[in-house]
C-alpha cells in the first residue's frame, strides 16, 4: 500500500499520520500541497492542523491548494481519501463531503479522549472493526461541530454513511458525550460511494498502548487489508 500524506502550510499532524501508516506496513510519502500529480498512490490522507491559520473558515483556503484538484479527481475515480480533523474540514470545504464544521458549542478548543461507536464497517477504512465496537480516541479541535440540514441528515442516516458517532463509555448517544454539538452526534462520515472518509477524532494518535489507546489502529489496518488484496 502506497500512502500519500498531504502537507498544507499549517498542517501539524502529518508526521503522526506518516508514522501511523508506516506502522501497518505502508510505503508512505509526504505530498506538498503544491504537488500536482497523485499517480501511484493507493490512499491519500489529509492531516489535522491549522492550514492557513484557519483564516476565513477552517479548511476554506487549503481547499484551493493546487493538490486539491487532483485529490478531487483521485476521489472521483474511487481512490480512498481519509481526512482527519482539519483534513475533514478541508474535505467539506472542497465539496467531497457534504455539510460543514462550525464552532464547538462549548466555544472551547476541546482536547481530550472521547468514545465513539463504529456504526459502519463496510468501508475500506473500518472493515477491521466490529460493528458496534466502542473506541476511545483523542480529539483536539475548536471547529468540529458537524452541521447539515435535516434533509441531508436523513439521507446520511438512510444511506448508512455515518461511520462514527460520539457516545459515552457505555455506548449511549447522549448530549454530554457529544464534545462539540455535532448534529446526530456525527464524528465521521463518508461520501456517497464510501471511498472518502472525514472524521474529527484522531486515530493516528491512538496507535500505541503506552500512549493510552490502540483503538485508532483499525483505520490503518483496514486500509492495509483492503488495498493489499487488490490484484491487478
Amino acid at each position: 500500500m502506497r500512502v500519500g500524506v498531504v502537507t498544507f502550510p499549517g498542517s501539524n499532524c502529518d508526521y503522526d499520520l506518516y508514522k501511523a501508516a508506516q506502522q501497518v506496513g505502508a510505503d508512505v510519502e509526504f505530498i506538498w500541497h503544491r504537488q500536482k500529480n497523485l499517480d501511484g498512490y493507493d490512499v491519500v490522507m489529509l492531516p489535522g492542523g491549522f492550514s492557513y491559520g484557519d483564516y476565513l473558515r477552517a479548511g476554506a483556503i487549503a481547499r484551493i491548494s493546487p493538490v486539491m484538484e487532483d485529490i478531487v479527481g483521485f476521489a472521483e475515480n474511487g481512490g480512498p481519501v481519509l481526512g482527519i480533523c482539519n483534513g475533514f474540514q478541508i474535505l467539506c470545504e472542497a465539496g467531497l463531503l457534504p455539510g460543514a464544521l462550525i464552532r464547538n458549542v462549548s466555544l472551547r478548543f476541546e482536547s481530550r479522549d472521547v468514545h465513539m461507536l463504529v456504526e459502519q464497517t463496510e468501508t475500506p477504512f473500518t472493515s477491521e472493526y466490529q460493528k458496534g465496537q466502542i473506541l476511545r480516541i483523542p480529539i483536539a479541535h475548536g471547529e468540529g461541530n458537524y452541521e447539515a440540514d435535516g434533509q441531508l441528515l436523513e439521507q446520511l442516516e438512510a444511506e448508512g454513511r455515518i461511520v462514527f458517532r460520539y457516545v459515552n463509555r457505555g455506548g449511549e448517544m447522549t448530549e454530554e458525550a457529544n464534545p462539540n454539538g455535532s448534529r446526530n452526534s456525527i464524528a465521521g462520515l463518508t461520501n456517497e460511494s464510501g471511498n472518502v472518509l472525514g472524521m474529527m477524532p484522531h486515530p493516528e494518535r491512538a496507535m500505541e498502548e503506552v500512549l493510552g489507546s490502540v483503538d485508532g489502529m483499525g483505520v490503518f489496518l483496514s486500509l492495509a487489508a483492503n488495498l493489499s488484496t487488490v490484484v491487478l
Binding site: L56, R57, A60, I61, I64, C92, E93, P98, G99, A100, I102, R103, N104, V105, S106, L107, N145, E147, A148, D149, G181
Partner: protein, 90 residues
C-alpha cells in the same frame, strides 16, 4: 476602470446555532441588557477593486462570495458598494 470599495457581510444562516452570538448574548444580559432576544455574529470583509461600473463590481464580489468567501451550508452573504474612487482616500 473605476475603484470601488466593497463591503461583504457574512452572516450565520437563520436557524443555525451560533454559539458565539449566544455567549455574547449572555454577556450582554449579565451587564443588564435584559431585553435582548437574540445575538448573531457574522463578519465583515472589505475589498477594494477595479471595475467598469458598480454593477460589475457587485457581480464580481458576489462571485467571490459564492466561490470562497461564504460557505453556503452555514452562511448567507450581502454585498454592497461602500465607496468609489472619489470617496476612497485610504
Amino acid at each position: 476602470m473605476n475603484h470601488f470599495r466593497m463591503e461583504i457581510l457574512v452572516k450565520p444562516r437563520p436557524g443555525l446555532l451560533d454559539p458565539e452570538g449566544k455567549a455574547i448574548h449572555h454577556a450582554l444580559r449579565s451587564l443588564g441588557w435584559t431585553d435582548i432576544h437574540d445575538v448573531r455574529v457574522g463578519k465583515a470583509i472589505y475589498i477594494d477593486l477595479e471595475a467598469e461600473d458598480s454593477v460589475t463590481a457587485l457581480e464580481t464580489t458576489e462571485a467571490m462570495c459564492r466561490k470562497i468567501l461564504a460557505n453556503p451550508v452555514t452562511e448567507d452573504f450581502e454585498v454592497s458598494v461602500v465607496g468609489d474612487t472619489e470617496r476612497i482616500t485610504a
